[in-house]
């Protein structure tokens, strides 16, 4: 007798909980050697590329990791989305929304000023003032400075585009001949949205870096394609 699980029935002789079913167990499909799960991310690796190279390429140019693996449609969608998101963030908040560690509001290097009665503190290096001749904060207290500008950690994950924007931010912060910086610093919601866009672009690129590197390092598992019903 065969018993079908999962079907509602009023016939007690075919019910799995009926005593007769306990004696005559249904025939189960043969057990496989090991349990196979379908992975969250697809594993259609088509080329053998070293994992570090894929990760580096994915950081240098968003989506390039997938491109090296031969997944060009995925590369284009991911890369264009991330770059467009980052550029939109810069358009919304202006390039000065990038707070570059080691540089102050006027685009000058931050140095640790000599200690006074309030202790040592950070000032922007002024070539004309001997009181600002201290060590650069990124060489003396890099972790503290990065902790003060935590969004930069997410933004730098977007790749060299963020380094170019950082250079632009420092350049736009410097006071020109008219006594004003070239670029205006955004405030309130425009600043929040711009920072959000650029930081999310960086975090999405981190996701793409991890995924493309994971695909590059995963052996091609043909058993999943051969037995699609096993994972269904």
């Amino acid at each position: 007798m065969s018993v079908v699980f999962g079907r509602a029935t009023t016939d007690k002789s075919t019910c799995p909980c009926h005593p007769s079913s306990i004696i005559q167990r249904p025939r189960l499909p043969p057990r496989r050697g090991r349990i196979q799960y379908r992975t969250l991310m697809s594993d259609d690796r088509s080329r053998n590329v070293p994992v570090p190279l894929v990760a580096l390429a994915a950081w240098l140019l968003p989506g390039a990791g997938y491109w090296l693996l031969g997944q060009r449609a995925r590369a284009l969608v991911v890369g264009i989305s991330i770059v467009v998101l980052y550029v939109l963030g810069l358009l919304i908040g202006g390039v000065r929304l990038i707070e570059v560690p080691g540089y102050g509001d006027h685009g000058l290097p931050l140095v640790v000023a000599p200690a006074d009665r309030n202790g040592d503190h950070l000032v922007e290096a002024d070539p004309t003032s001997p009181e600002t001749n201290g060590p650069w904060v990124m060489t003396s207290r890099p972790m503290e400075e990065i902790r003060n500008k935590p969004w930069y950690i997410a933004q730098v994950l977007a790749g060299p585009i963020n380094l170019i924007a950082s250079w632009g931010s420092v350049a736009a912060s410097k006071v020109n001949a008219s006594g004003m910086p070239a670029g205006y610093r955004s405030h309130a919601r425009t600043n929040e949205l711009g920072v959000l866009y650029t930081a999310i672009a960086g975090m999405l690129n981190l996701l793409a870096i991890i995924d493309s590197a994971s695909r590059a390092g995963r052996p091609h598992d043909e058993s999943l394609e051969a037995q699609p019903e096993a994972a269904a």
Binding site: V77, I82, V84, G94, G168, Y184, S186, L193, L207
Partner: protein, 78 residues
């Protein structure tokens, strides 16, 4: 600042009205959905539909959260 005087990348975009900036949620939700589903989906043919669905739910969730929070604020003010 007038829109014609706006210098891209040097000036923040001149959108100060409260009715404008919430629309900036749409490209953010679309990009997040596209990248997330591109990473997760097995084939790229699934991505447009899956991304549209998750983008809808992101926007719906944000609107719902805004309504709830606005209600809480109104209740506290009252």
């Amino acid at each position: 600042m007038h829109l014609l005087a706006w210098r891209p990348f040097l000036d923040p975009i001149p959108i100060w009205a409260d009715s404008v900036w919430p629309w900036l949620l749409l490209p953010l939700a679309a990009a997040v959905s596209l990248v997330y589903k591109s990473v997760k989906c097995r084939t790229m043919r699934q991505v447009p539909r899956e991304a549209a669905v998750i983008a809808f739910w992101i926007i719906f969730g944000m609107i719902a959260a805004a309504v709830v929070l606005a209600g809480v604020v109104k209740a506290l003010e009252w």
